[in-house]
């Protein structure tokens, strides 16, 4: 199973402490610049910025690069596809194969855009807890139903993952995955058991929510103002993004 990314181990870094609303605005701005500029220089600049920010935030580099491995692979595949699909511009012969110059530039722009986007998202996720993101979503008037459902799903993912892992371990101990056929049967049983337990848990959870005063909507915490330090961080971030866009 894929390990989930979380930022629980770096709660005290300066970037983790930055207001979630500011981070949402800056990451949205960075992703917009990444797409709008459509330039490999801008994308490479953004990827470098994201990496430097993770260093500053004290993110474990092993985790950052491990997470970036699949996007790197996807970026290489995307680069290669462009070599075959774009047939305009000067022809360059490379290892006996004719490649069009436009295809090279387009592939480079696409690959760097993927890397920059994923690096920015990784920086954001590794420094922002989900409840903070949901608080920001509420401030930006995101529909309450989506926020509420996201929080419920997020709350139960970890519990169900643990439960599913326990069932799977028990099945493994009983040779449930010893052959392909047994593996399929065990996977179906695991899914079925998870559904049954989930259903019962949903009923119990609703009763518990009602006991704690739930009347059809989760209460939003009182909104606080944005501190001057956060405004300054937003200003610096916007200036950097603007500068990068102009360079591109």
């Amino acid at each position: 199973m894929h390990p989930l990314i979380d930022c629980s181990y770096q709660q005290h870094s300066a970037l983790t402490a930055l207001d979630g609303r500011i981070k949402v605005l800056l990451v949205a701005g960075a992703l917009t610049v990444n797409l709008a500029a459509a330039s490999w220089r801008v994308s490479c600049g953004l990827a470098l910025l994201a990496w430097l920010l993770t260093l500053f935030a004290g993110v474990r580099q092993k985790q950052f690069w491990r997470r970036l491995a699949i996007p790197l692979l996807l970026a290489s595949v995307a680069f290669i596809t462009q070599l075959f699909w774009i047939k305009s511009g000067d022809r360059v012969v490379f290892s006996g194969m004719a490649i069009h110059a436009d295809a090279l530039w387009s592939g480079l722009a696409l690959a760097s855009r993927i890397l920059a986007g994923m690096a920015m998202i990784l920086f954001f996720v590794l420094t922002t807890p989900l409840p903070e993101l949901m608080r920001a979503a509420r401030s930006f008037r995101c529909p309450p139903l989506l926020v509420e459902l996201t929080l419920i799903i997020y709350r139960y993912i970890f519990l169900l993952l643990e439960e599913a892992e326990r069932i799977r371990t028990a099945q493994r101990a009983r040779a449930g995955y010893s052959t392909f056929r047994y593996g399929l049967r065990s996977s179906s049983m695991l899914g079925g058991m998870l559904l049954l337990r989930t259903y019962d848990r949903a009923e119990r959870s609703f009763e518990a929510m009602r006991c704690r005063g739930y009347r059809g909507a989760l209460l939003a915490p009182t909104e606080t103002g944005i501190s001057p330090g956060n405004w300054r961080a937003l200003g610096v971030g916007v200036a950097m993004l603007g500068g990068l866009y102009l360079i591109g």
Partner: protein, 243 residues
């Protein structure tokens, strides 16, 4: 033919099936990213409206949708062995959530799951969330549900109806993803050629995955009917006579 062979080799031998169903951040140019958000938004709004409608009748429905959403997320995180590729892949889960919750609510669950997968698993992306919601949420959910209902109409038993939902939702999700990618990336190669290349390149791994997902969804439904048929009755998946 050469690009097709190369793509098939890359998709078959690299561990891409893990993330191939999701369009990664940055792949869609700005215009396409916005367009797919605009296309997916009405379906998400429709799903939200339907959930609110059900919640007005049964206040516990929201926790049921949330926890089923989490269960589908967890189900989609478990690796399935793919014999052809020699690697593992993940079920999509949208066919299952559409059977359990209905098409519109399943779109909302898919939207939230995709957001969480982009954030916590680095699968997919934020600017591609609209495109992924359309292919996995809208196409995956409604095709799975349609296949399930059609199989039930043709007197198919629960296992084969679940199997049909799993296979249809998987293969059509890939068709949706391939279409979105081909539209955005085909350059000056004809669109249909690129679409065919992408879709066929996925096939060596995706056909076994879709069959496995179909078998597992069918098996899950049979397991639930055997142990707690009342749940399937309450969700209107089977009738009281079929218990």
């Amino acid at each position: 033919m050469k690009p097709l062979v190369l793509l098939a080799l890359m998709l078959g031998f690299f561990p891409l099936p893990v993330a191939a169903m999701h369009i990664s951040e940055g792949i869609l140019p700005g215009g396409w990213a916005i367009l797919w958000f605009v296309v997916a938004a009405p379906f998400v709004a429709w799903g939200g409206w339907r959930i609110n409608q059900r919640r007005a009748i049964d206040p516990g429905y929201i926790s049921l949708v949330g926890i089923f959403g989490a269960a589908v997320f967890v189900f989609s995180c478990f690796p399935l062995p793919v014999p052809v590729a020699g690697s593992t892949a993940h079920p999509a889960g949208t066919g299952l959530s559409a059977i359990l919750l209905g098409g519109p609510a399943s779109v909302v669950v898919a939207f939230i799951s995709l957001l969480l997968q982009a954030l916590f698993l680095a699968h997919g992306g934020l600017t591609t969330l609209g495109g992924n919601t359309f292919s996995m949420g809208v196409v995956g959910s409604f095709s799975g549900l349609a296949a399930f209902k059609l199989a039930r109409l043709c007197q198919g038993n629960l296992f084969w109806s679940g199997f049909a939902a799993g296979v249809a939702s998987d293969l059509l999700t890939y068709l949706g993803t391939a279409t979105e990618m081909a539209l955005a990336l085909h350059g000056n190669t004809p669109l249909l050629t690129v679409l065919g290349q992408i879709y066929l390149a996925f096939m060596p791994t995706q056909v076994p995955i879709s069959i496995l997902e179909g078998v597992i969804i069918g098996g899950m439904l049979v397991y639930v009917r055997k142990h707690r048929p009342d749940i399937l009755c309450k969700l209107k998946i089977i009738t009281a006579e079929e218990r």
